[in-house]
């Protein structure tokens, strides 16, 4: 019973915070609310017997990536969105917005409706121990997925060099 309650609390926090991220005009509040959403998702990972992923979510996402976003928001100091430029606003501005709202709501309804039709599929209790074991994750990561893991390091290196080159001041 406790688990059901926790699921709905975390799910509500995640959905409301994500909605507010999209609804906020000030990017600073958006970043803060997204951290709340990621925290709620970490709670859901704990409910799914994935403590390693939950901790990684907090450290990497809420800790590193969001701090990067926060730095850029503070650095650029753009508190609010500018209104649409006049010719575009007249041509398709509000209508384009309305179409976008309808399309995204249609996407959400479609996915929820499709999943609603599925027969209920409860989780098996027996699998919890093997899934939550960090030993199993480490073994799989460094044997089966060792190549992908090494490629990841090259990806990070390329991203680092790319970020430095792109953000550098031109002379």
């Amino acid at each position: 019973m406790m688990e059901v309650f926790a699921f709905y609390v975390f799910a509500a926090i995640a959905v409301v915070a994500s909605l507010l991220v999209v609804g906020q005009k000030n990017p600073m509040y958006s970043v803060m609310l997204l951290i709340a959403s990621f925290g709620a998702l970490a709670g859901l990972y704990v409910l799914l017997d994935a403590p390693f992923t939950a901790v990684t979510q907090i450290i990497i996402y809420a800790g590193a990536i969001m701090v990067l976003f926060l730095f850029v928001v503070m650095l650029l100091n753009v508190p609010r969105e500018e209104p649409l430029p006049v010719p575009l606003a007249g041509a398709l501005g509000p209508a384009g917005m309305r179409i976008a709202v309808v399309l995204s709501i249609a996407l959400g309804i479609e996915m929820v409706w499709a999943l609603w039709k599925l027969p209920p599929t409860p989780f098996s209790e027996g699998a919890a121990a093997s899934v939550s074991s960090v030993t199993n994750i480490g073994q799989s990561l460094f044997t089966e997925h060792a190549f992908a893991f090494e490629v990841t390091s090259i990806l990070i290196l390329v991203a680092m060099v790319g970020a430095v080159v792109l953000a550098r001041k031109e002379h």
């Binding site: 699921f7 959905v15 994500s18 909605l19 991220v21 999209v22 990017p27 958006s30 997204l34 959403s37 998702l41 859901l44 990972y45 409910l47 799914l48 994935a50 390693f52 992923t53 990684t56 979510q57 990497i60 996402y61 990536i65 990067l68 976003f69 850029v72 650029l76 753009v78 969105e81 500018e82 430029p85 575009l88 976008a100 709202v101 995204s104 996407l107 959400g108 996915m111 929820v112 999943l115 599925l118 209920p120 599929t121 989780f123 098996s124 699998a127 919890a128 093997s130 899934v131 994750i137 799989s140 990561l141 990806l155 390329v158 991203a159 970020a163 430095v164 080159v165 792109l166 953000a167």
Partner: protein
């Protein structure tokens, strides 16, 4: 009883919210944040299905998605900074030229 369906539905709702953010917002930083919401919705699906099948592969691919998200955020924000230097704005409508 919380079933796999509940997690998949939650993931679908979060993905739709992220899509709406990319469509609706005219601020490059918020658009990148919306992409992060979408990536997280997909991560939730991976972990939930991995738990359902009793394998750790769902968590491993989530790990890789996080790495790619970090790289994407670093490069994306560097591009945003470079664009802001040239145009003094973050509106995607302002960036119509590939070269200047």
């Amino acid at each position: 009883m919380v079933t796999l369906n509940s997690y998949l539905i939650l993931s679908g709702i979060l993905f739709a919210i992220g899509t709406a953010g990319v469509f609706l917002r005219r601020n490059l930083i918020t658009m990148l944040l919306s992409i992060e919401i979408m990536l997280n919705a997909v991560n939730l699906t991976f972990v939930a299905v991995g738990r359902f099948r009793g394998i750790v592969d769902g968590q491993i691919i989530t790990f890789f998605v996080m790495t790619v998200a970090a790289a994407e955020a670093a490069v994306g924000l560097a591009i945003v900074i470079a664009l802001f230097r040239h145009h003094e704005t973050l509106s995607p409508d302002a960036f119509t030229a590939l070269k200047w």
